[in-house]
Amino acid sequence: MSQTDTAETSTNRTDGQQVSTTAGETAEETRPVWTSYEAGGETKLAVRDIDVHYGDDHALKGVSMDIPEQSVTALIGPSGCGKSTFLRCLNRMNDRIRAASVDGAVELDGEDIYQDGVDLVELRKRVGMVFQSPNPFPKSIRENVSYGPRKHGDIETGLLARLTGRAEPQREETLVEQSLERAALWEEVNDRLDDNALGLSGGQQQRLCIARCLAVDPEVILMDEPASALDPIATSKIEDLIKDLAQDYTVVVVTHSMQQAARVSDQTAVFLTGGELVEYDDTEKIFENPESQRVEDYISGKFG
């Protein structure tokens, strides 16, 4: 906490360029001050010195950070800096990329998810993910939402289950409704739950994907640029939803829009090209008065 609000320059930016030059230079000398940043709240995910290589390509370099429970953490940075890669480390989706190799540790509630014998299925139930472009399954809306619970055997719907009376259509109904409500989609689709999900608009599809994720009842929700494919109105709905979700879940969101990060997140991590985590701090601090010159430049639009 020591580094928060230590900036001596004014919190009112008048001319980004000038301010950053002074603030930045000092920060640049005493570099990784931020690594000791501790966000408020319990640490849900502790990332410890993660390195990711794609073949010979060193995509993430020794990144460590603590992600607090029940808050929104934003990851920003220029294209190709490794934000998505970092996010995928948190639920081991990188395992699916053949070229990728991950070193380091990520602790979920204190348990390292990279140790031997970790059950990926279990992990991903607890750490859900929403992708950049909406990817509903080509099934009905209802089936999309209940997909996870069905696969986990929480809900049974098959012929056999119905024969033996184990099917609980009511429970499924409730779950679907709750999840869709939670994803602010119920109103719009409650009269056509059996329509194909691909018929929804982009924004609705993305919220459906969030609902689908919520139905599994994860603890952490990872979102990779969830609004990048959407129009402004759909985007603002998703943003509201994200803020809302942070009451119950730990949300980590990658975004390419700094404005979006500023609007939705509690703390922000800035990655810069080369796969370094350059600064991690309260969102306000990052946008008003970053420690590092490079972050300052990036935020003021000098590049990217």
Partner: protein, 522 residues
């Protein structure tokens, strides 16, 4: 949305249970492999193993596996192990076990002499029980007990010798008899599949994970079997054909190597009969087909993907192309016989074969070329257009060069396919069974000009000519007479030659693809 059961993120280290289940999977695999060997006659079921006939040992193994599998289920059911079974093994497994037990019931009751009604009755009862067990009890019981019982029953038959060496049973009305020699291995194959699957599920702790493991075991087995068949086929032909192929092979002498099998004909006077004329015939056949089909196919692909507007015409061409692609080769043969032969001197001829195969190659070339051309990124076309370069220039200097890898690969693979075709040339090209060296077509030297129409003629093109696949067919049917000392050796040598010619095309095609892919990625 409550977190009902928070299962552990980390599964415990290998438990004894998992180790035993894993062993059972492995044992099932071994049983499967040995059963396959017995079916293929590599070993006999009455071979003694540790003092017992193999079939008895099989029985003991199946009994043990069956018991183990049932044990896994029971152990899980009574909570001795950490597993996550679902409430039911699912409808697919239920249907499968119902079918299996129905068959078991009907067969066994038939064997003890029940009539059709009785057999159906017993089958239905057993099937019903299997269905109830699989579908209505928890997954750990449902996926193990019916399977383990089947394996156990099979094992029991084998151990007690009810079915074993010397067992036989006539299939009434089917004009066939089953013998222990074939039935025992088949039973072993089947039962080991069942136990392997059940044990794999147990290994995975049932539930989603167990199903995953079970399915993977089956799929790996399938793929291994396919590869085994492939390797077995090629190896079999190779082993049988090598002596023939290398008969009289020598290094040194007048030429650098002397390879009589490839350079001799099979005329009476050849000291070592060879396949030269058929080889030359195949080469000319391929050249002719390629000369006709490749320019046509590539040209059509260019027109379709670069010029034509998507519409009824392109739609029709697409349907026609795919239709031609799947048209049976014998139909091409009929077409060649009805259309080409009357137009090329009314007899089977090399040129009729060339065109027939050309017609077959055309859709292959067209489809692959079209794919290759469509795969050329539009950026190249845009970039060229933006530089003020005309369309045809762009096609010639950017699109076609970029499409060449795909086209080449497609053509080579297509050629590999037609080079081995027999049916079309059987009807259109003919040729001798054992052509002498002089029967090899001399296409280049055969052209003749004349003053009367058709002005150009080439007797070499208009004669019936042999080709490798056709010669093999002729050997099978018409057979060898005359001077072939060791007909089987000759025939296998020919089969190997044909296989090698075709596989070389495939190998080159696949290698080309890799080469271009590497080049693209560098």
């Amino acid at each position: 949305m409550s977190r009902a059961t928070q299962t552990a993120l980390v599964r415990d280290d290998r438990t004894v249970y998992e180790a035993v289940a894993g062993t059972a999977v492995g044992l099932s695999g071994v049983a499967f492999a040995v059963g396959l060997a017995a079916l293929l006659g590599v070993i006999a079921i009455d071979d003694p193993v540790a003092g017992f006939a193999l079939s008895v040992v099989f029985g003991a193994v199946l009994l043990a596996l069956g018991a183990a599998v049932v044990g896994f289920g029971v152990a899980s059911r009574f909570g001795y192990v950490d597993a996550a079974p679902q409430p039911s093994a699912g409808i697919v497994a239920a249907a499968a076990f119902t079918g299996i037990w129905f068959a078991v019931g009907a067969t066994v009751s038939g064997a003890v002499g029940l009539g059709t009604g009785g057999r159906l009755g017993v089958g239905t009862v057993l099937g019903g029980i299997a269905f109830a067990t699989t579908a209505l009890s928890r997954e750990d019981i449902g996926a193990t007990v019916p399977g383990g019982a089947v394996a156990g029953l099979c094992g029991l038959f084998l151990v007690t010798g009810v079915v074993g060496p010397g067992w036989e049973r006539a299939l009434a009305g089917y004009n066939a008899t089953l013998f222990g020699d074939t039935v025992v291995p088949v039973v072993v194959l089947f039962a080991s599949l069942v136990t392997g699957w059940s044990a794999a599920k147990a290994y995975g702790g049932f539930g989603a994970r167990g199903r995953n493991v079970g399915a993977y075991v089956l799929i790996y087995l399938v793929v291994c079997s396919i590869l085994t068949v492939l390797v077995g086929l090629v190896a079999f032909v190779t082993v049988n054909g090598l002596t023939g192929l290398f008969n009289g092979f020598g290094v040194g002498g007048a030429g650098l190597v002397s390879w009589p099998f490839l350079t001799n004909g099979a005329g009476l006077l050849a000291d070592i009969p060879g396949v030269f004329p058929a080889l030359v015939g195949t080469v000319w056949l391929v050249i002719g087909a390629v000369l006709f089909a490749v320019p046509t196919g590539v040209g059509a692909a260019v027109f379709l993907s670069e010029y034509a507007e998507q519409g009824r015409f392109t739609g029709a061409v697409e349907v026609a192309t795919n239709g031609l692609w799947s048209t049976p080769s014998i139909v091409f043969g009929l077409f060649g016989a009805a259309f080409l032969i009357p137009r090329f001197g009314n007899q089977k001829s090399l040129i009729a074969g060339m065109f027939t195969l050309g017609f077959m190659l055309l859709p292959l070339v067209l489809i692959t070329s079209r794919e290759a051309i469509l795969a050329v990124p539009d950026e190249y076309r845009d970039a060229s257009a933006a530089l003020g370069v005309s369309k045809w220039q762009t096609i010639r200097s950017v699109v076609l060069p970029a499409a060449i890898p795909g086209v080449t690969t497609g053509v080579i693979l297509g050629v590999g396919r037609i080079a081995g075709e027999t049916a079309p040339i059987l009807l259109t090209m003919g040729g001798g069974v054992l052509p002498a060296r002089s029967a090899a077509p001399d296409v280049l030297g055969g052209f003749q000009l004349s003053a009367s129409p058709p002005f150009v003629s080439n007797p070499a093109l208009l004669e019936a000519t042999s080709a490798l696949p056709y010669q093999l067919y002729a050997l099978i049917t018409a057979g060898l007479s005359g001077n072939i000392q060791n007909p089987q050796e000759y025939a296998w040598g020919l089969a190997l030659t044909l296989l090698l010619v075709v596989l070389v095309f495939y190998a080159i095609g696949i290698a080309t693809r890799y080469y271009f892919r590497q080049k693209l990625h560098q």
